[in-house]
């Protein structure tokens, strides 16, 4: 898939393994740092990661929507892992990594700290941060919002990381998606929306309302098959996104009108 595709993700070939990520840096999917053939560094989640293949699907959908909404999400890609590259790469329990397609999020190389409200201010990318709130609400977040803070001129640019528990708490299905209630409010755990002007929110509402059902279907259809959502679950996911799009736009407009 070409990098110029406005709503889906590029595909890169990995050539070098660097290290495991540990503690809060990594998380339950036990990602590792790899380098691609162009010298870019990626935090990669394996196709057989301990959480679930659908964690990768959730990441994929979030990152694709992130491109559409100019959200503060690091560039992402489908990462090709050859058998020879992952031959010696193992999870903490000794199980080997599978070759195939992993999900990669470009590594924030300056070792940025975890974002902490009150410490990393002012935020310089408010519109992008607000778009993250919109994506979390659109997908349905099942975990706290993790983010990193990168020094940016006089302030800090926040970058949201780990969307593996959006859509569902790891695994999700038609049943779990249909059981989800409509979002009662925008999921803004860090109060990033307090920094967004009505103008920013109005533009976001417009952009979200312009995402078509076909756009959602294209994104969901591009999720690599080996990550697992069945055809029926994919259909249900598109319906889930369509349903919540209307709710999210309403919530944003209510905020603009308040």
């Amino acid at each position: 898939m070409p990098d110029s595709d406005p709503i889906s993700l590029p595909r890169v070939v990995l050539k070098r393994h660097h290290r495991a990520m540990s503690g809060d840096e990594g998380g339950g999917s036990q990602p590792q740092v790899f380098e691609d053939t162009d010298g870019r560094f990626w935090m990669v989640k394996a196709p057989n990661n301990p959480q679930n293949g659908q964690v990768l699907a959730s990441e994929f959908v979030a990152a694709s929507l992130g491109r559409t909404l100019s959200a503060a999400i690091p560039p992402a890609a489908i990462c090709e892992l050859s058998a020879e590259l992952v031959a010696d790469v193992k999870f903490a329990d000794g199980q080997p990594w599978a070759a195939g397609s992993g999900f990669g999020s470009e590594l924030l190389q300056s070792s940025p700290p975890s974002y902490a409200a009150g410490t990393h201010e002012p935020i310089t990318n408010c519109a992008s941060a607000a778009a993250v709130v919109v994506i979390d609400t659109l997908l349905g977040s099942h975990d706290g919002r993790q983010a990193r803070a990168c020094k940016d001129g006089e302030g800090w640019a926040v970058w949201a990381v780990d969307f593996g528990h959006d859509i569902g708490p790891g695994a999700w299905s038609r049943a779990s998606l249909e059981a989800l209630a409509s979002p009662p409010a925008l999921e803004d755990g860090h109060h990033w929306l307090s920094l967004a002007t009505k103008e920013i929110m109005g533009e976001l509402a417009e952009t979200v309302s312009n995402i078509t059902n076909e756009d959602f279907a294209q994104i969901v259809g591009a999720i690599p098959a080996e990550w697992g959502p069945s055809d029926d679950d994919r259909v249900a996911l598109v319906a889930h996104l369509v349903r919540r799009r209307e709710a999210v736009v309403t919530l944003i407009r209510q905020r603009v009108d308040a």
Binding site: K15, R16, H17, H18, R19, D38, G39, R40, F41, S70, A72, P74, P75, S82, E84, L85, V86, A87, D88, V89, E106, L108, Q109, S110, E121, P122, I123, T124, N125, C126, A127, S128, A131, C150, D152, G153, E154, G155, A157, S194, L195, A196, T197, E199, I200, E203, E206, T207
Partner: protein
């Protein structure tokens, strides 16, 4: 071809665990090559009290080991050097066409780094508003560098 490689680090204190990378070892099909920093000035600056002779001896030992034991197991070497003044990292894998070019690339990355090769261009991927230099605090647009906030879309 896939190669195993390890990074060689000088760690003067097994308690403090501060360290500097000084060499890279790479192994493939009965051939081990080591690329090491020509000078140890960085180490002397970072660790003024370090015994540089001891570092040199340890590095020379790794050089010789690479030549004398081409079937050298980097995992075993990593285990053996844990807690030592000069340590070898657990091995990782790199895929490439030649051992020389991989070693050169790894040496530049780990031992003599140039500025990051592909840092995320935060400004480039940030939306228009951030590129314009607008900082928003508590819901109020405050232009930076005297420029006024403009809509991003």
């Amino acid at each position: 071809m896939n190669f195993q490689y390890s990074v060689v680090r000088v760690m003067p204190s097994a308690v403090a665990e501060e360290c500097l990378n000084v060499a890279v070892m790479i192994r493939y099909d009965g051939l081990v090559q080591v690329a090491r920093a020509k000078k140890l000035e960085r180490i002397a600056k970072a660790f003024p009290t370090i015994d540089q002779d001891a570092v040199e001896v340890s590095l020379a030992y790794l050089d010789e080991l690479g030549q004398a034991q081409p079937d050298l197991d980097l995992s075993e070497l990593s285990r053996r050097t844990r807690g030592a003044l000069v340590q070898v990292s657990p091995p990782a894998t790199t895929v490439g066409d030649s051992i020389e070019s991989e070693l050169r690339d790894l040496f530049q990355l780990y031992v003599e780094p140039k500025p990051a090769r592909s840092p995320i261009a935060y400004r480039r991927v940030s939306p228009h508003r951030a590129r314009k230099g607008t900082v928003l605090v508590s819901g109020t647009a405050q232009p930076v560098n005297g420029r006024r906030a403009t809509p991003s879309r």
